[in-house]
């Protein structure tokens, strides 16, 4: 069983979040709760540093490196997780396990910013005495240069997450000369940074807490630094990086803990991230105590063994994500509402959960918004499989006997789910075919309307905890672009009434989160009836650690807090 990392999803999200520019939702209170292996609540607040556990080498394993080391460019799960111990932005997600990990806390900023009444101006006061790994102090000039650099290197989210900054539109068009002189303004004397937005954006702080907005030294070249480490402000620095072999992190000698919430000091003296072992081999290495943690999804046939013999070393945590079937509402046969409703009844989601690893690794999804996510409403209008009803609806729609292709990527789980979907479609009266294509191209292929994809299997992982990050991104008219590889509204669903309600909910997000949450829940229910998406299940993350590891904490946004694990 191979679970897909969010890399592909995120890349697309970046390309398309044009929609996200509009932004929404109140930050903090959110999502998933972490549990430890024994099902008990994990530590949710940062306890004080325990000196006796300091030291040792943490040994991490992954099949391969996760691309460039440049935090303004890399958009992959693996390196985002590592960047938490290397870099800081003005604000960050609280570095603890559990629900509190969605809280935004001041990081390089002394305190949370002052926001103007119209929500367009954010003023941050920079901390003094924070140093880069080079020994140089972090100044307001570094902050301004870093915001410029996001655009100068054409960062993957520059045109979306950060396009609301005044002057960003010009920077996206002409990255080389980007100054953002009216958008990001430094006052060296007061040690403040003022960021001006074109329009209010209640998700702006969450976007600033992502690795793409970290602060780097002002002299950093305006191009992808690839395997060359860029000095950061975190408790560790990269000593060497070879994406085919190893990444070695050692302590940053110039780091002094300034905020335990935002950037706590780490436990191990050294973190060795070795690449090359298959997940099978990696599991054996962790079992034998030769490694401490595995990045890749665990092989399906080892799960039972891990869940029994090594239960104390396994940690299962829900993710703010779902696997779903985007239903193309513009192509036959699913341009007919009855045919789409038939799909909602057709699948046994418990069977799909089994293919993912069982009821403790995923849970069947009834809604678009994952459980415990902002705006999630607890309803289930299509509670169980009803093949007879689905077949009847297909006949009512007059589409029985039509040919339907399901396009899936070539990883094990997707292929299995695709095969199940194909088999079920045959049972409800279609002539179904499965089309398996390379994972490298699958995500863009299914988005482009030119490829005439009727059904596919895809996943969506939240970029940050906001209902709009699912509903607005996946199903608004603005995210549907015909003929484009970056059309994340894969269903091609565009409904003016729904769009108006999305806009209303996003506006409400800024003033009344309770009311907006209710509206998002209603929207979710309405969208389930209209059927542009068939949610399948919400996956969980399984982390398998060695016996040596203590203090495992699961961060809802960046997953296991690696530098907070102790091995001594």
């Amino acid at each position: 069983m191979k679970r897909i990392t969010a890399m592909a999803t995120r890349t697309a999200g970046a390309a398309l979040l044009a929609v996200g520019v509009a932004a929404c939702s109140g930050g903090g209170g959110a999502a998933t709760s972490a549990t430890d292996g024994a099902g008990q609540p994990a530590q949710t607040t940062a306890a004080g540093f325990q000196e006796q556990h300091k030291g040792g080498t943490l040994r991490l394993l992954a099949k391969s490196g996760d691309g460039t080391l440049d935090p303004h460019i890399n958009y992959s799960n693996g390196n985002w997780q590592i960047f938490q111990a290397l870099y800081d932005g003005l604000v960050s997600f609280r570095k603890v396990g559990g629900k509190a990990s969605y809280d935004i806390v001041p990081d390089l900023a002394e305190e949370m910013p002052q926001v103007s009444a119209d929500g367009k101006t954010y003023t941050f006061k920079l901390r003094k005495d924070v140093k880069f790994a080079t020994g140089e102090a972090v100044t307001v000039d570094d902050v301004v240069a870093s915001f410029q650099r996001i655009f100068r290197v054409s960062g993957p989210t520059s045109g979306t997450f950060y396009s609301g900054i005044v002057g960003a539109a010009d920077c996206v068009k002409k990255p080389a000369g980007c100054t953002l002189d009216k958008g990001v303004v430094a006052d060296a004397a007061a040690n403040t940074i003022t960021i001006n937005l074109v329009a209010a954006d209640s998700e702006f702080l969450q976007k600033l807490a992502l690795p793409h907005a970290v602060v780097l030294p002002k002299g950093t070249p305006d191009k992808d630094q690839g395997t060359t480490p860029i000095p950061g402000t975190g408790p560790y620095k990269v000593e060497s990086y070879n994406p085919n072999k190893q990444m070695k992190l050692v302590r940053n000698p110039n780091f002094t803990e300034w905020s335990r919430d935002a950037q706590p000091q780490g436990y191990p003296d050294e973190i060795d991230y070795n690449y090359g072992l298959t997940p099978e081999g990696a599991v054996t290495a962790v079992q034998n105590g030769q490694a401490d943690w595995i990045f890749d999804p665990l092989p399906a046939d080892r799960l039972t063994e891990i869940g029994t013999t090594y239960a104390e070393q396994a940690h299962v945590n829900p993710l703010a994500a779902f696997w779903y079937i985007p239903v193309n509402v513009n192509l036959a046969p699913f341009d007919k509402p009855e045919a789409r409703e038939a799909l909602q009844w057709a699948f046994d989601k418990n069977a799909l959960v089994k293919m993912f690893g069982g009821a403790n690794v995923a849970q069947p999804a009834c809604t678009i918004l994952p459980p415990a996510f902002p705006g999630h409403a607890d309803f289930c209008d299509f509670p169980q499989q009803d093949l007879a009803k689905a077949k009847e609806l297909v006949q009512q729609s007059g589409t029985s006997g039509q040919e339907v292709s399901v396009v899936v990527s070539d990883d094990d789980v997707s292929k299995q789910i695709g095969e199940y979907v194909r088999s079920t479609l045959e049972q409800i009266g279609y002539r179904a075919k499965l089309k398996v294509i390379s994972t490298n191209i699958h995500f863009t292929y299914i988005q482009n309307t030119k490829n005439k994809v009727q059904l596919s299997v895809s996943q969506w992982y939240a970029d940050y905890p906001a209902a709009s990050n699912f509903i607005n991104v996946l199903l608004s008219c603005a995210s549907f672009r015909e003929g484009s590889d970056a059309s994340i509204n894969i269903s091609g669903f565009c409904d003016k009434d729904v769009d108006a309600k999305i806009a209303e909910a996003m506006k409400l997000d800024q003033s009344d989160t309770a009311a907006s949450g209710k509206l998002w829940g209603e929207l979710d229910r309405e969208l389930m009836k209209k059927g542009p998406i068939v949610p399948l299940f919400n996956p969980k993350q399984i982390d398998f650690v060695s016996k040596n590891v203590g203090n495992y904490q699961f961060h809802a946004q960046f997953h296991a807090l690696l530098d907070q694990m102790w091995v001594k």
Binding site: L303, A314, K354, G358, N360, E419, R422
Partner: protein, 352 residues
């Protein structure tokens, strides 16, 4: 004038000097070859084994419908099955410890009830194995036939005409053979599996079984065509061919009546060997998901399905692997027997 197998007939036609004068007709070269094959014990055992496998695969629908009562192409992830008197889920959720993972029911060794267990979709592995064998054998055999036919035509043309025709065809063989076989097959499959093959009047759908047949046949054409070309070039200087030319026979007639019968034994020797080789190639491509496409199955796709269950249910991979291995061995031993029977001195390059 026609003298089949003349160029290679090294065994004396008769055993006694008197036989030359006798009116008793000698056995034809094909009949004699068949006789020799029959006396080859290992080839006969291999042939019988192969026949058994083919028969079992041909009867796959009978097994699925009448014995196992199962549809091997429909998922049964939520189904249940009676094992040792107890009803258990086909895909069992682990209940111990953290309850991670799902394990399909293992081999029951009861032919009517998941004999070899279930796969990830809860489908009967035994029934799928038989259906998969049909496709593996079909693709192996038909691609070998297509490959040998194409190679014979091209090899005879190149060898007979020589000159620029030979130069062009030989370079074509060289170019194709310059690619590593599997790499070329994977490249072609990846491209054609997305769009299908549309070449003039030929249209093959992306998911069609004909696609791996065509791809595998094409990539092995030089392997067969080059030795045939060499053989035809040697024939060019034989007296019977000069005689045919002298009598004014057309090129087409000479190729058909004089050349072809002489290279045919080589082609026949190639056929079982190529079937084995092509079946292995098909399995490899299917294992890599660029061969047979769902809902069809082949032994390669079943090995692939079983890979994700290697630790918990190794029977799936082992059974399919054994089928591929045994069939390939049987075909190779039979192929060797055919070669020995038709031309004891011939030494073909490699084998499967």
């Amino acid at each position: 004038m026609t003298s089949p197998v003349r160029a290679t007939a090294e065994e004396p036609v008769t055993d006694t000097p008197a036989a030359g004068r006798a009116a008793r007709p000698s056995a034809g070269p094909w009949r004699r070859a068949l006789g020799r094959l029959r006396r080859n014990r290992s080839a006969m055992i291999a042939g019988a084994g192969l026949l058994l496998i083919v028969l079992a695969c041909v009867l796959a629908p009978v097994y699925a419908n009448a014995i196992a009562h199962t549809d091997p192409f429909t998922s049964n992830a939520s189904g249940t099955v009676v094992v040792n008197g107890a009803r258990v889920p086909v895909l069992a959720q682990s209940t111990e410890g953290l309850g991670l993972g799902v394990t399909p029911v293992g081999p029951t060794w009861d032919p009517g009830n998941y004999f070899l267990g279930a796969d990830n979709q809860g489908r009967d592995v035994m029934a799928r194995l038989l259906y998969g064998g049909r496709n593996s054998l079909l693709i192996g055999l038909s691609s070998a036939v297509v490959c040998c036919a194409l190679a014979t035509v091209l090899g005879v043309l190149a060898g007979y005409f020589g000159g620029w025709i030979d130069a062009v065809l030989s370079r074509f063989f060289d170019v194709i053979w310059a690619f590593p076989v599997y790499l070329l097959a994977i490249c072609l499959s990846v491209v054609l599996l997305t769009s299908g093959l549309h070449l003039g009047p030929i249209h093959i759908d992306a998911g069609s079984l004909a696609l791996p047949v065509v791809i595998i046949a094409l990539i092995y054409v030089p392997y067969v065509a080059r030795p045939l070309r060499g053989q035809v070039m040697a024939l060019r200087n034989k007296e019977f061919l000069h005689a045919a030319v002298g009598l004014g026979a057309s090129d087409l007639r000479i190729m058909r009546r004089e050349v072809l019968p002489n290279v045919l034994p080589t082609v026949v020797v190639f056929l079982p060997l190529m079937t084995a080789l092509n079946m292995l190639t098909e399995s490899a491509l299917s294992f890599l998901s660029v061969g047979v496409q769902s809902p069809d199955a082949s032994w390669g796709t079943i090995i692939n399905d079983g890979l994700a269950l290697l630790y918990t249910r190794p029977a799936i991979t082992i059974a399919a692997g054994l089928c591929v291995g045994l069939t390939a061995v049987a075909l190779n031993v039979l192929g060797d027997g055919v070669r020995d029977a038709l031309d004891p001195n011939a030494r073909l390059r490699g084998g499967a």
